[in-house]
């Protein structure tokens, strides 16, 4: 039984990691290519979840909702890139943080104005309902396995896009020298809008998939945003590979910490105390991990630019 529990918790860690990867990939891509800190990334996650929930409620199909979430988040991303973000590339990071923080407030209250203050309902599609048996006697929800699979597909797709296609080549070129690629005749403004919309669509997809597991409500993006920042700082800002490794690391450490720490402490102190101290320590664990990694490798595990 303990072995089955361990397997289950490891899968939980991977699943949390994959979900964080979808958030962190867009964030790190935008930072890597445009040098922009986008605090409103969590709002795009929320836009994806709300789009999926409302389309699923209207049509009865989660899959249409999923498509809608990609479209809505990408559209919202492109819109704010053209109207607001474009003016921030030349500014320093403080201006970017201020402006994108303002976007968080606008998105949150705008969403409340449209959808009201009560959480929306979004259910898992019938195809992915329930749990399956794993070797060793454990049971695992199908939907969480599907999230792991979707995350792996996105990771592979991003790798192929960036290393094998012309667009990817331009993105890489934009990362290393934006003046030069503009001089070579590449339309850098459209490229930036595209990259921003791609990052936004990934956040929207994460929001829609997670929305079926959690509650679709205003403000749902911000807690995930903080974790996504931890992930990209650990992985090395601007690196997709770093985001993947960082996300899996954070997911596993957080999940296993929540599970193992209270148990380890229970050997030393009474169980109610162990729960309290273990719970508090577990929530600090990923930040301790980040501090240690930054002490050893100040630019993260896979620094993007030399």
């Amino acid at each position: 039984m303990t072995f089955a529990l361990l397997i289950e918790q490891l899968l939980n860690g991977v699943q949390l990691g994959v979900m964080l990867f979808l958030m962190a990939a867009g964030l790190t891509l935008i930072f890597g290519v445009m040098g922009l800190i986008n605090l409103a990334h969590g709002s795009l996650y929320m836009v994806g979840a709300f789009a999926c929930a409302s389309v699923a409620a209207l049509t009865g199909s989660f899959w249409l909702g999923l498509v809608a979430s990609l479209a809505a988040a990408a559209a919202a991303g492109a819109l704010i890139e053209i109207t607001v973000i474009r003016r921030l590339y030349q500014r320093d990071h403080l201006d970017q943080v201020l402006a994108t923080f303002a976007l968080i407030l606008i998105f949150s209250e705008g969403t409340r104005w449209l959808f009201g203050s009560f959480p929306l309902y979004l259910d898992i599609p019938p195809l992915l309902q329930g749990a399956v048996g794993l070797p060793g006697g454990a049971q695992y929800p199908v939907y969480r396995l599907a999230i792991i699979l979707a995350g792996a597909l996105v990771a592979f797709g991003l790798y192929a896009l960036i290393s094998k296609t012309r667009l990817g080549m331009r993105i890489r070129a934009g990362e290393s020298d934006r003046e030069m690629i503009a001089a070579l005749g590449v339309d850098i403004r459209t490229l930036y809008t595209l990259v921003f919309a791609l990052g936004a669509a990934l956040a929207g997809l994460a929001g829609a998939m997670v929305g079926a597991l959690q509650s679709v409500q205003v403000g749902m993006g911000e807690p995930v945003l903080i974790l996504a920042f931890v992930v990209i700082v650990i992985g090395g800002i601007g690196s997709i590979k770093g985001a993947l490794v960082g996300a899996l690391l954070v997911g596993s450490v957080d999940t296993l910490g929540r599970f193992l720490l209270p148990q380890a402490l229970a050997l030393m102190v009474p169980p109610d105390q162990a729960g309290l101290i273990g719970g508090a320590l577990a929530s600090m664990l990923i930040y301790i991990l980040m501090a240690i990694i930054l002490a050893v490798k100040p630019r993260g595990l896979f620094p993007a630019q030399a």
Partner: protein, 378 residues
């Protein structure tokens, strides 16, 4: 003769009106209307305003402001309401940490506070105040009731709450009555949204049932994930985990869940039969427990205002403590620490005409007070 009659009628009307309303009353309603917790605040405001509207009382003014669930903002608003708006009574705060920031200062300035929800232990015992009333419950009450219920039905319990003061009060309240074996006691992060690790522990614990206190979005996330996990151990909790504001978002995953509450939609009394349809007609949705609590807080203030002047704080609070109202909860009176003495029921989530709601199963406690009243000497 005619003049005399006129004069007499005039005196009578004047007399009657001065009896009905001693003085205009200004109420400051501070509640959460933005951010993730706004659902609770919206219900609080709507419940409160329904009672004011039904009374038709023109001498009552209510000023509403949003605290965004931030203690520092709540304190600023309270100061502004007391100093520049000159309110007589404050009410509406949903969260215990915000209440703790506002109430001591407000009562020190001689303002009356009637709580519509938050009821931290710290203000129920030794540090109680003659100007602080709670129209909802004491924080521990609903958890105590589930402890009592679990005693009868289960032998081994898994218990879980967020790691913050109300979470600790919750498990303390539960353990005050539950005497069986504890499989595990888990504290989660406040605002946590993924419970896979905890659900795996519940599965492995071999408990008969899990007692879970996770208010708002946390509870929605937990219940949806629990339903998908294939774990068959029943989940029970205090009423907040399955209240009307979160049920639509949890969906059918909540069906059959047992919880405790001092009110449910189907409670059989005249006031409740009037309240539920009136709320539905006004706002187009079912009321939650937060709406009922705020409705009663407004009724309490209205009842006191019809008997005494709010400028005479002593007379007004004496009238308030009589609690002369028809509550949708049925029996309602104040304890010596000005917290309610009321019945607490076991409820079950059912589907009624396609809408998820709570139905009363049985009574757990009759005339239940709280553990702190004996320490309140003021």
């Amino acid at each position: 003769m005619k003049t005399f009659l006129k004069a007499a009628t005039l005196t009578l009307t004047l007399g009657a009106s001065s009896l009905a309303m001693a003085e205009p009353v200004k109420i400051g309603l501070i509640t959460t209307l933005s951010g993730g917790g706004a659902g609770l605040g919206v219900d609080t405001r709507d419940g409160f305003m329904l009672a004011i509207k039904q009374s038709g009382n023109k001498d009552i003014t209510v000023i509403t402001e949003d605290d965004a669930q931030k203690p520092e903002l709540a304190v600023q608003i309270a100061d502004k309401m007391i100093q520049s708006d000159k309110v007589d009574i404050l009410t509406g705060i949903v969260w215990s940490n915000l209440l703790m920031a506002v109430v001591p200062g407000a009562v020190a300035q001689g303002k009356i506070y009637v709580s519509t929800n938050a009821a931290p232990a710290a203000l129920a015992g030794e540090k109680c105040d003659p100007l602080y009333f709670n129209a909802a419950y004491q924080n521990d009450n609903l958890h105590e009731a589930m402890g009592e219920y679990a005693n009868k039905v289960y032998k081994k319990m898994f218990i879980m709450a967020p790691n913050y003061p109300a979470g600790k009060d919750s498990l303390t309240g539960f353990k005050r009555y539950y005497k069986g074996e504890l499989a595990n006691e888990v504290y989660t992060k406040v605002g946590q949204t993924d419970y896979a690790a905890e659900i795996a522990q519940i599965r492995a614990s071999g408990a008969d049932a899990a007692f879970v206190f996770l208010p708002g979005g946390m509870g929605i996330a937990f219940m949806k994930q629990y339903a998908q996990s294939g774990v068959k151990i029943p989940v029970i909790g205090p009423g907040f985990s399955f209240s009307q504001d979160v049920l639509p978002a949890i969906g059918d995953a909540a069906l059959g869940a047992k919880a405790s509450g001092q009110w449910a939609k189907d409670l059989d009394n005249a006031a409740n039969k009037k309240f539920v349809p009136a709320f539905q007609a006004e706002y187009g949705r079912l009321p939650s427990i937060y709406a009922v609590q705020a409705y009663d807080a407004a009724q309490l203030i209205l009842a006191a205002a019809s008997k005494a002047s709010v400028k005479d704080v002593k007379a007004f609070t004496t009238e308030l403590s009589k609690a002369d109202i028809q509550s949708p909860r049925g029996k309602f009176k104040f304890n010596t620490n000005r917290h309610p003495i009321q019945d607490i029921y076991l409820t079950e989530v059912v589907k009624d005409n396609g809408t998820l709601t709570n139905k009363i199963v049985e009574k757990i406690f009759t005339d239940h007070g709280d553990a702190y009243a004996k320490d309140c000497k003021k």
